[in-house]
Amino acid sequence: MAHLVLDNVSKNFGGLAAVSDLNMEINDREIVGLIGPNGAGKTTTFNLITGELKPSSGEISFESKKLNGMRPHRVAKAGISRTYQLTTLFPGYTVMENVLVGFHLETKFSFVEALLNLRSNRRKERRLFDRAMEVLDFMGLSKLVDEQAENLPHGLQRKLGVAISLACGPRLLLLDEPLTGMNPTEAADMINTIRQINERYGTAILIVEHNLKAVMALCRRIVVINFGMKIAQGSPEEIQNDEQVIEAYIGRQIDAS
């Protein structure tokens, strides 16, 4: 069953077509890689899916619900959560508080309840705390609960970013360059985590990443875009041997004759 469907989606910034006629599908429980050279329109695609940008034309739907024109917090409610390239966490908060904010969608509390601070309210908070602990345990961050997020090393900050969006309970997770700036051990750890998320929670994952080796290892299906257009799609082997992809990444060989 197709989960997320992009049907002929285009986005123009003035005269510049950042994304043009993009068709893409992500199925249930699938990890899909979205790759392409710098400026190919990968992050724009993410922003279109999450509602931060409105597509100029085309249709985006998730679980046969139309996403076009939905505001970001609504998209999150529909079950799509994302990480950002840069701001992946709330720097002034502790690790625990970061994840607790992620549970926002599940917490039903009213203004009055918060003011009165009833026992039921406190019990709810405790339950959330335990749930957050579970997520942190899963991400291997449970020892750092009271640490301030901005004091964590880069690799763990990234992990925390994923933990926050995981707390949202998404059915589709969009990861925007989750491996940037990581050393090989951290990257390997992250790849492992992503795979575990997919296996344990059954979350479909769309991943944008420049580390091609990682993408090839993670994804069974890869979509390549360049200048906003899809130029190839297929298994890692197919992608590696696709001429257009090679051309986009390393350029065309100049014929000597």
Binding site: H104, N121, R126
Partner: protein
Amino acid sequence: MAESTGGAKEAKFLQEINVQARSPIHFGVICLILCLVPLVVSNEYYLHVLISIFYHIIYASTYRFILRTGQFHFGAHAFIGIGAYSSALLVTKLGLSFWLAMPIAGLISATCAILVGYPTLRLKGIYFAIITWGLGDTLRFLYIRFESLFGGALGIFSIPEPDSFPFFSNIDFSQKSHFYVLSVLLMMFTLYILYRMEKSRLGLIFGAVREGDKLARSLGINIMNYKVLAFAVCSGLAAMAGSFYAHYTYYISPKDFSILLTIYLAIYTIVGGKENFYGCIIGTSILMLAGEIFAGYAHYQLLMYSGLLILIILFLPNGLVSIYDIIGRLFSSSAKSTALKDA
């Protein structure tokens, strides 16, 4: 404690929940103690100083709360003015009881905050500051222009004191001590609401909106609604204090609600410490007391405050309350080193 998930040491969050459970008792006790002060202090001047500190604490803490949602608010005087003027007009022109006029003034101000908030809270930083400052000064000119309604530059005279309380006819407001108790109750009520908002899940979300609004939005938080909520609740509470001010001084004029008021609030908040809930309470108390002690040098007041502000920003960026933390850290580190020696 039954919780063992956090390892041997209980996580901060759970400790916090336990503190929360006791907070109504703490507030009640503090309120009671403050209410008993007039039995000991009968000097009217001292009571007056305390009263003015109390309503300034309301102004400053509501102002701080809006700052904490990440908005550079510069129009606190606008909403305090709306509260004072609407309450004064309701009582003098319509003959309403003060006890009705005060909450209505709060509601009017909160409504204004919602109307202004939805279009302008999208703006950040200096732009939001300009808009709110503009709002405050526009209102000030309105008060001056429409003389028949607002009394022009001279303001509104002889605003009656609060009528005696419905069921307790022996409470009349001809005595300072009765005003004093009212100001304590109003302050504790406001502080309790702000405290609950800050320490509950709401506070967590307000902070998240400040720390990273994009990320917060992607987690399903409707950031606009939360910003407007904080703005409206704080403006409403500040307006109730403004209404109290009007009936306490019997007289309001446009110059009471100039930008200078907001500037003072900003100074109190930053000197006390913006990060800490008690910061602006301490800042307001100390600076206003200092202002009273050096009342003979009133011309230099703003100059001294500005100098202090610069010193605080340079040397104590978290305000006067951080002195407490610094001392605490000194002791804990010495305690730790002795513990190490023992081991």
